[in-house]
Amino acid sequence: MKRPGIVKAVLIFLFLVFLIQGGLQLYRHRHFDVPVVAGPGVTRVVRLSDFGPGLKGTMADPLVYFLEGKEPGGKAILLSNTHANEPEGLLATLLMLENAVVEKGTLIIIPEFNHSAGRNTRPGDGYPLYFEVQTDWGSKKFRLGNRDASPLDQWPDPDVYIHFPDRQLLSYIDVRNVNRTWPGRPGGPLMEKVTFAAMEIMRREKVDIAVDIHGAETMFPVTNCIVAPEKSNRIATMTSLTVKAKEGFDSHVEPSPTGFRGLSHREIGDYSDTLPFLLEAPIPFLDQPTGPKTVKFLLDGKDPFLLSLAQKKKLFVPYDESGWPLEKRVGQHCSVILEILGQYSKKNPDRSILVRDIPRYAEIVRNGVGHYFHDPAGAEKDKIYLN
C-alpha cells in the first residue's frame, strides 16, 4: 500500500456513509409511532407495567385498552402483535379499538403485545420496514416488526432457553418470543415479565376468554385455524362450524399440544381460569419459497411460486390466483373473535360479552380494512394514542 493514509480516509468515509445511512433508517423505524384514534367504546387506557413489575420505562410496556360496557358481564382479552411480523392481528384489534362499542361485559385489548418486536426489524430476509393501508382519507402507515423482541431490549440470548416453570429446553431465540415465555415470572427475562403481566391482568380482572391473534405460513400445517386446549375445545368447535356455515370460510380446530410448553393456548389455560384461543390466518408473505418480500406481496398475498406449489398440493390451505389478501385475513379474525364471544355468551349468560359495530368477514372483504380506520387529523387530541 503506497498511501495508507488516503486508503484509510476513503474507507472511513465509506464506513460512515454505510453506518449513518443504514443506522438512521433503523433508528427511525424503532421510534416511529402509529397514531390510533380511540373509538367510542374505549373507557380507559393503562400500561402493561400497571400489572407487572420491571416493565415500566422499557420498550416492552405496551398500552392496554379497556372497553367497558354499561352492564357488567364477562371479560375477554385480545392480544395481537405477539409476533409483530404477522400484521393481520394488529389491524384486526386496531379496527376494533376504533369502532367497537361494548354493551355488556368488558373487552381488554393489547394491540402491540410484543411492543419491542414491533420496533424490531428482520435481518437477512429483506422485509420492508413499513407498509401502508389505503383508507377513505388517505393511507395509514404501519411499522412491520419482527417475530422476536429486539436484542436492544433483551440481551444476550442463552445457548438454550429453559422454559419456566417446566424447564423444557427450547430454541435459544425463543427467549425473545412471547409465545414461548408463558406463563412468565416477575423476575425472569423481559419477555417473561411481559407474559407474567398479562397473566396478572387475567387473574386480577377475572378474564373469561383470551384470544391471541396470529398469522401462519401456508406451508405450515397449523394455519387457518383456532388452536385450543381441552377446556376451550367446545367453544372453538362451535365457532369453527358456525363461521363455516354462516360466513363460508374455513377455520378448523387444532388441539393445543400438552407437551409443548410456553405457548399462550397451553399455559394461559393451565395457569388461570381463563379459556385461551390462538387464531391463525394464512399469511403467504411468511412462507420461505416465495418471490421478493415486497409490501404488495404482504398486502395481497399473491406469489407465483406458492401458486405452483399449490398446484402440486404442497400447501395446507386453498390457494389460487387471488392470493390471500389482507382483507380476508383480518376479516376472518374479526368474525372468529365475534363468534367465540357469541358462543361463550350463549353458554354463560351471566358472564356474556356483547359487542357491536365490529364488521364481519364479508363486510371487511367488501370495504377493505382501511375503510374502518379514522383520520387522526380530524380526531380530538385526547382520543389519539401513539402505538
Binding site: 500500500m1 495508507p4 486508503v7 484509510k8 474507507l11 472511513i12 465509506l14 464506513f15 454505510f18 453506518l19 443504514g22 443506522g23 433503523l26 433508528y27 424503532r30 426489524t121 436484542p151 436492544l152 433483551q154 440481551w155 444476550p156
Partner: protein, 51 residues
C-alpha cells in the same frame, strides 16, 4: 438494564476498541482494513443502541 446486559455492552466496546486499534496499526493490507470496518458496523450500531 440487567448486569449481564451491561457486561455484554462492555465486551462489545472492548471488541470495537480492538478492531479500531488493528485498523490504526495496519499499514499494508487494504483488504484487512476494509474487513475491520465491515465487522465494526454491527458492533457500533449495538453500542449506539440502534440495532
Amino acid at each position: 438494564m440487567p448486569i449481564i446486559m451491561i457486561l455484554y455492552y462492555l465486551i462489545t466496546a472492548y471488541l470495537v476498541s480492538l478492531l479500531a486499534w488493528n485498523f490504526i496499526r495496519e499499514k499494508k493490507k487494504s483488504e484487512d482494513l476494509a474487513q475491520y470496518l465491515l465487522v465494526l458496523i454491527p458492533l457500533v450500531l449495538r453500542i449506539l443502541r440502534i440495532k
